[in-house]
């Protein structure tokens, strides 16, 4: 306030501040604009169009011709057995794969955290499965279970057990899909959880030991509470990724054998790009979006916490 009396015009500091604010804000918008435009055009606009398509009947062969059909696409789902089983498989796959990934990731994190010779190598080598292209992972697993010359079947034959192309066996194909999800993501959980564990001060464990706590109690009362935030993020994120995942199933079994591994994303892809039923595909994708919305809200809340 004192400056007001000294300066020639009482408002000039505020004018200068206002100018600075406007130019700063302008520059701020300008710099974020390219990203916003690209995301708006390639993600937000197609999403809104996709939601719109869900209420129309459209063929991929003639996408200009759209017929408004109201909620009839959603009605069609109720009587579509493949849709129901795809939805069930997606939920089951997500629940089983994410639980296994978390538990196995936690185990690996506990081992990686230990200060043993070679720990650095183990830590860096473990992420390899996570950076591989999905198609390469699928090729590896399909090779492993080839009849006659696939390593898994060679071992089974030596043990005198049944051999077959296991991706083609109902009842085995689905567990194999789970195994691939686990194989791919366990290291990622492990590294994130290990990092969270390492940030816990060693003094807390020493204090617990002095108070007579065993390793299990230390894990339960010191480690678990302090990795819960990272755990939540990992779980919510992978629920979303697994639920939406397309390539692992599409490239390995294509949804077979006999629809045993059909998930939402592969069924939608087939409806839209093989049956040309864009509207019906979009309406099922909208169902996926709605189901995932809850998890997204939780995730965004977690990230926005700081």
């Amino acid at each position: 306030m004192a400056t007001q009396d000294i300066s020639s015009s009482p408002l000039s500091p505020y004018v200068a501040e206002f100018k600075r604010f406007v130019s700063d804000t302008w520059l701020g918008y300008a710099m974020v604009l390219p990203a916003v435009i690209m995301l708006g055009a390639i993600i937000v606009y197609p999403t809104l169009r996709g939601i719109q398509l869900a209420f129309f009947e459209v063929s991929l062969l003639n996408p200009e011709q759209m017929t408004f059909v109201g909620l009839s696409n959603f009605g069609q789902m109720l009587s579509d057995a493949t849709f129901k089983s795809a939805l069930w498989h997606t939920v089951l796959l997500t629940a089983v794969a994410v639980s296994l990934q978390y538990l196995l990731g936690l185990g690996l994190a506990l081992a990686l955290k230990e200060k043993v010779p070679g720990a650095g190598f183990f830590r860096s080598a473990s992420m390899i499965t996570w950076v591989l292209p999905g198609i390469v992972m699928v090729i590896i697993f399909r090779f492993l279970v080839q009849p006659d010359f696939g390593p898994a079947n060679i071992v089974l034959a030596k043990l005198g057990l049944e051999t077959t192309y296991w991706f083609g066996r109902p009842g085995v194909a689905f567990p194999l899909i789970v195994v691939m999800h686990v194989w791919r993501n366990v290291p990622f959980y492990a590294i994130a959880l290990m990092a969270a564990m390492k940030s816990i001060p060693e003094t807390q464990y020493e204090a617990a030991r002095l108070d007579g706590a065993g390793p299990l109690q230390a894990f339960r009362y010191i480690t678990l509470p302090q990795i819960s935030y990272v755990s939540m993020i990992m779980i919510v994120l992978h629920v979303i990724f697994t639920f939406n995942n397309f390539d692992i199933v599409y490239l390995s079994t294509g949804g077979g054998p006999l629809g045993n591994t059909e998930v939402m994303s592969t069924y939608i892809y087939k409806q839209a790009f093989e049956q040309y039923a864009l509207g019906y595909g979009a309406s099922m994708a909208l169902v996926m979006l709605i189901i995932m919305m809850a998890f997204t809200v939780v995730y965004v809340r977690l990230e926005a916490r700081d």
């Binding site: 804000t25 990203a35 996709g50 390593p151 939406n244 997204t296």
Partner: protein, 301 residues
């Protein structure tokens, strides 16, 4: 420990002592064995499939199709690599992959750095919503976007062009890249910005001369994620690429398989070559990635 090593010769003792010093105080031999046992089990599960693929690619076709697990020395050969690397179409796909992944990474880093700087250092209405909506785009089901996305690219005449694929991949990488870079930018004290401003630096000078050099690890990690996102992508390329001119390696691997027959020795070799750039790049940035994950959340993810 001391009583153990006293029974050994002096050179042995120094080795054991060195090993001992390496271990932390509370690491008992029993615990050590336990840790190695657990790690071995995990790594057998995680690395054996990849390791076995690598082994098979260096063996003859006869061995691959035989019911044997372990090759003899006579089975070893580099013939598969020569065949794959001399396949013209494969070379073309490799070049496409490199061009598309490098362009995607460059575009994403430029757009992402600008956006991250803006979101980290500027105050403007809507800042927080932009940040959170970037995050939310990562959660949308790709199959929902895919249908209108295809129609959009078709009407923009971007089907079967490098540009179309680069834009599609960049859009996939920008939200994560921006979020990640913002995390690194936030860690740089704003007092540095203020000091530079005193010296007459503009906002863009500050970005280019202070923020970017100090966030090189973050830029490396963001660049790596974008690169593998583009390099590994199958779905978008399978939709946007109609001819061999724009086909990338993951989609191009079908070159070695037809409806009924798969040339496994060539397919596995081509798959191995496909992962080499990813693994090499990963080796360079893995320490930053592990470090970034330590701070939790999206930073380093």
């Amino acid at each position: 420990m001391a009583t153990d090593s006293s029974t050994h010769s002096s050179s042995d003792r120094s080795l054991i002592q060195r090993f001992d010093a390496w271990l932390s105080d509370d690491m008992s031999p029993r615990r050590l064995v336990g840790v190695y046992a657990v790690l071995s089990l995990y790594f057998a599960f995680l690395l054996l499939p990849v390791g076995y693929m690598l082994l098979v690619t260096f063996t003859s076709q006869e061995f691959l199709y035989s019911p044997q697990l372990i090759p003899s020395l006579g089975d070893l050969t580099v013939e598969n690599y020569l065949t794959v690397l001399q396949t013209g179409a494969f070379q073309g796909y490799f070049v496409n992959s490199v061009v598309i992944a490098v362009s995607t990474t460059t575009l994403t880093l430029v757009v992402g750095t600008l956006a991250a700087y803006s979101l980290s250092r500027f105050e403007f209405p809507g800042r927080q919503s932009i940040l959170l909506s970037f995050l939310a785009t990562q959660m949308l089901p790709l199959v929902l976007i895919l249908i209108p996305f295809f129609l959009l690219m078709f009407s923009l005449n971007l089907i079967d062009s490098y540009l179309g694929i680069v834009i599609a991949h960049s859009v996939g990488g920008i939200p994560l890249g921006t979020w990640l870079l913002k995390g690194y930018f936030d860690d740089i004290p704003t007092s540095l910005d203020e000091a530079a401003k005193m010296d007459g630096c503009s906002r863009l000078d500050i970005l280019w001369r202070i923020i970017v050099p100090l966030s090189l690890p973050g830029i490396a990690v963001a660049g790596f994620y974008t690169f593998i996102l583009s390099w590994n992508d199958y779905l978008l390329v399978s939709i946007l690429s109609q001819t061999a001119a724009t086909r990338t390696l993951p989609f191009g691997l079908q070159l070695f398989q037809s409806q009924n027959t798969v040339a496994w020795e060539l397919l596995l070799t081509a798959a191995t070559i496909t992962i080499v750039p990813v693994v090499v790049l990963f080796a360079f940035v893995q320490s930053y990635i592990v470090e970034g994950l330590a701070s939790g959340g999206m930073k380093g993810m």
